[in-house]
């Protein structure tokens, strides 16, 4: 009898897994992008952020050209990019190699030009691109998976396209090499400097810039950075202070995920499982370029300590929210708020998303106030604390934790008020209050429902 259960479970599992894979593959194989590719088509501007999938050449100029011809014509039309190219190693390679002209990356037929993507760069920079692509095996957070992260997100597919076009500037780090090595100079020296990262690594969820520049490392960089020789590789002895790339891409390895322990601060992890012990050793090795190994280990432990404290606080709030959800005290409830229009399952089984594994990352606009407050606490305040701790901004750790405590007190007060309000309504009317159409209507809310 028991054996039957085992066999049945095994057969169901064996069937479900390939069916699941096939379903995801089918969803992704439409003409749009990501998990919603069968229902969602991008705006034309996406072509510039994800050229491999969407770029179509202009038909203005006819002809097939040689490198010198491109340069001659574009010196008149777009001298800026020609100047950039002339100053680059592409125009003046070492060891007497032939220059890399425009057509090596864009093609020579002017009506079939393409935008260079990692595939194109890999024609020569094979190792670097391979390292970059290899990052995918570590999962999120990742540069190489950043575009998937954007186009697979529910809110990306569900919000108006022009609104979420803002996401692509940063998430295109997966689809173009010039996020860090800006065109048309593609300078390694530029990408080594912390400023190269801050266009994306700044702002509420990832104040990497503020926390790094406030750290001892960052202060030293601000004082001495302009005088350093940035043409040197990111290895021991070449720099007086570490930069983003020195630690996260040590030795010039073109990926940032191999040492990630705390996963961007987004979820709680066990920092001491065997794979994380390997990562800890890798961190200690980088820090040991300048510091004592024991000292580096202490610093890692301090980060663990900060994270445990932060997660204890966050779970308290998360549990308060889950408690409200289970008692149907969230207001508006899951059925009283705008659904994600493209999520068939969500439409069948409306559900308030609380917690990382529940899809909280997309739950920041069509939610109740307390959920939004928790989202901000988790995504802005908690990540601020994490970045401060990880980058050695000790004053930041203090002020972010103060902000975290303040936010959590607010959530507690709100949860108590929601409970009391719900109880009073039940007592007075015998049922839950009806929010009517308040959350379901309005100019933007209507537009959002109809345009995606």
């Amino acid at each position: 009898m028991h054996r039957h259960y085992i066999w049945a479970t095994l057969i169901i599992a064996l069937l479900t897994i390939p069916v699941g894979y096939a379903y995801v593959y089918w969803n992704k194989s439409g003409s749009g992008a990501g998990l919603y590719s069968r229902e969602w088509q991008p705006d034309p501007v996406q072509a510039y952020w994800d050229p491999d999938h969407f770029y179509k050449p202009v038909q203005t100029v006819q002809g097939v050209f040689k490198g010198e011809e491109c340069v001659a014509c574009h010196t008149a039309i777009t001298p800026g990019i020609v100047n950039d190219w002339r100053a680059s190693r592409h125009a003046k390679p070492d060891n007497g190699k032939a220059p890399v002209f425009c057509l090596a990356c864009h093609g020579s037929n002017h009506q079939a030009l393409h935008m260079p993507t990692p595939k194109v760069c890999a024609q020569c920079h094979e190792n670097r691109v391979a390292q970059f692509m290899d990052e995918k095996r570590y999962g999120f957070p990742s540069h190489a998976l950043a575009m998937d992260r954007a186009v697979d997100a529910k809110h990306f597919a569900d919000k108006p396209k022009a609104e979420v076009a803002s996401c692509l500037q940063c998430h295109s780090v997966a689809t173009k090499c010039d996020s860090c090595h800006t065109r048309h100079r593609f300078s390694a020296a530029e990408a080594r400097r912390p400023e190269a990262c801050v266009t994306c690594h700044s702002g509420p969820p990832h104040p990497d810039d503020d926390t790094y520049f406030a750290s001892a490392h960052g202060k030293k960089y601000l004082a001495e950075g302009a005088k350093q020789d940035w043409s040197k590789p990111l290895t021991k002895g070449n720099y007086t202070t570490p930069t983003c790339a020195y630690c996260h891409m040590s030795g010039g390895l073109h990926q940032v995920a191999d040492k990630t322990i705390w996963k961007f601060g987004l979820l709680e992890v066990n920092p001491n499982i065997s794979s994380n012990e390997v990562r800890r050793a890798a961190w200690v090795k980088v820090c040991s370029d300048c510091h004592d190994a024991a000292w580096s280990e202490t610093k890692l432990k301090e980060l663990d300590h900060e994270r445990r404290q932060a997660w204890a606080k966050l779970y308290k709030a998360e549990n308060a929210l889950k408690d409200l959800r289970s008692k149907n005290l969230l207001f508006p409830g899951a059925t009283e708020r705008p659904p994600y229009p493209m999520d068939a399952i969500e439409n069948l089984f409306p559900h308030a998303r609380i917690g990382y594994y529940d899809g909280q990352a997309s739950a920041f606009y069509n939610v109740s106030v307390i959920e939004r407050d928790y989202f901000e606490t988790w995504y802005f305040v908690n990540l601020g604390a994490y970045k401060a701790a990880a980058h050695g901004d000790s004053a930041g750790v203090g002020s972010w934790h103060k902000a975290l405590d303040h936010a959590l007190t607010g959530i507690d007060t709100q949860a108590a008020a929601l409970s009391a309000q719900g109880e009073a309504e039940k007592k007075a009317h015998g049922r839950r209050a009806d929010p009517g159409r308040l959350w379901l209507e309005g100019e933007y809310t209507d537009y959002n429902r109809e345009h995606n």
Binding site: N83, D209, Y365, A424
Partner: protein, 283 residues
């Protein structure tokens, strides 16, 4: 040898005339007096700009310094603008400072030749002046996108923005790229305004029926939304992902739903009998 000296003497007056700039320090009215005769159009453009109207806030000396020597170089560099604009509104300077344009400029500006005009091919990336005083256009108003937080972008404003951007951005970028990016940016701003109008509709409907304390709560949230709306515009204008997004659109979403939360909280409390009066839920 003597021939060479003679040649030099012959051309000396011409050299002197070309390079002759009055020495000494000048006050703003002196600059304006002299330059009105020499370049009336430029002075008129400055008078029409936000720097001179409605009140003279930034005159010639503010950006160019009091002396002729080095005055163009001084005014072309970001520092000329940043000194004031950082204090006026940090969002303006910060939205630009984190853009790729500004980052590259910051890393390289000391090696650039700032004596060259603000025109095609002379600078690797645009600084403040490259876009807002392009080719010496002194009416900075022309390169600032109009922004009414509630008015839907009309077609003429859209055409004007595209018309203004195409020749400037087009000096480095392809025409189709400029058009697509500008159109997307304008639509992004339209969406921000939809959120502001949705909020305004609620405020109009509920505000006057409320006690002062609750009016203040709504006003603060609505004020916040107007800041987030301006952030979207700054993000679009300065190409800052963060100002378009985290400090813009999702911030608007957050305060819009907080306004809805405040309104529904009021309605819920009103629906309860007097004896079941509740403590105020925080918005």
């Amino acid at each position: 040898m003597r021939g060479r000296w003679l040649l030099l003497l012959t051309f000396l007056p011409a050299f002197a005339a070309a390079g002759q700039l009055p020495a000494g320090k000048f006050a703003n009215h002196e600059c304006v007096n002299c330059h009105t005769n020499r370049d009336a159009q430029l002075v008129a453009a400055w008078r029409a700009s936000g720097h001179a109207r409605p009140a003279a806030k930034a005159g010639c000396v503010t950006c160019h310094g009091p002396e002729h020597r080095g005055s163009l170089i001084r005014a072309r560099r970001d520092s000329a603008c940043m000194d004031c604009h950082e204090k006026l509104n940090r969002a303006v300077t910060h939205s630009y400072a984190t853009s790729k344009h500004a980052i590259i400029l910051k890393l390289e500006e000391d090696s650039w030749d700032w004596s060259r005009p603000l025109a095609r091919g002379n600078y690797r990336t645009p600084g403040c002046s490259y876009c807002h005083l392009h080719a010496g256009e002194h009416n900075t108003r022309l390169s600032v996108m109009p922004w009414d937080p509630f008015q839907a972008g009309d077609e003429s404003a859209r055409t004007a923005t595209l018309g203004q951007r195409q020749p400037v951005c087009g000096e480095c970028h392809a025409p189709r790229y400029v058009a697509e990016q500008t159109e997307t940016g304008l639509r992004m701003m339209d969406i921000a305004r939809m959120k502001l109008r949705e909020a305004r509709e609620l405020i109009t409907r509920y505000r006057n029926t409320l006690p002062t304390e609750e009016q203040r709560t709504l006003d603060a949230l609505f004020g916040g939304m107007q800041t987030h709306g301006r952030n979207v515009r700054l993000g679009v204008g300065h190409q800052s992902p963060d100002y378009q997004w985290w400090l813009g659109q999702p911030a608007l979403d957050g305060d819009l739903l907080r306004i809805k939360g405040a309104v529904s909280g009021i309605e819920r409390r009103r629906a309860l009998p007097q004896d079941a009066a509740m403590p105020h839920a925080p918005p």
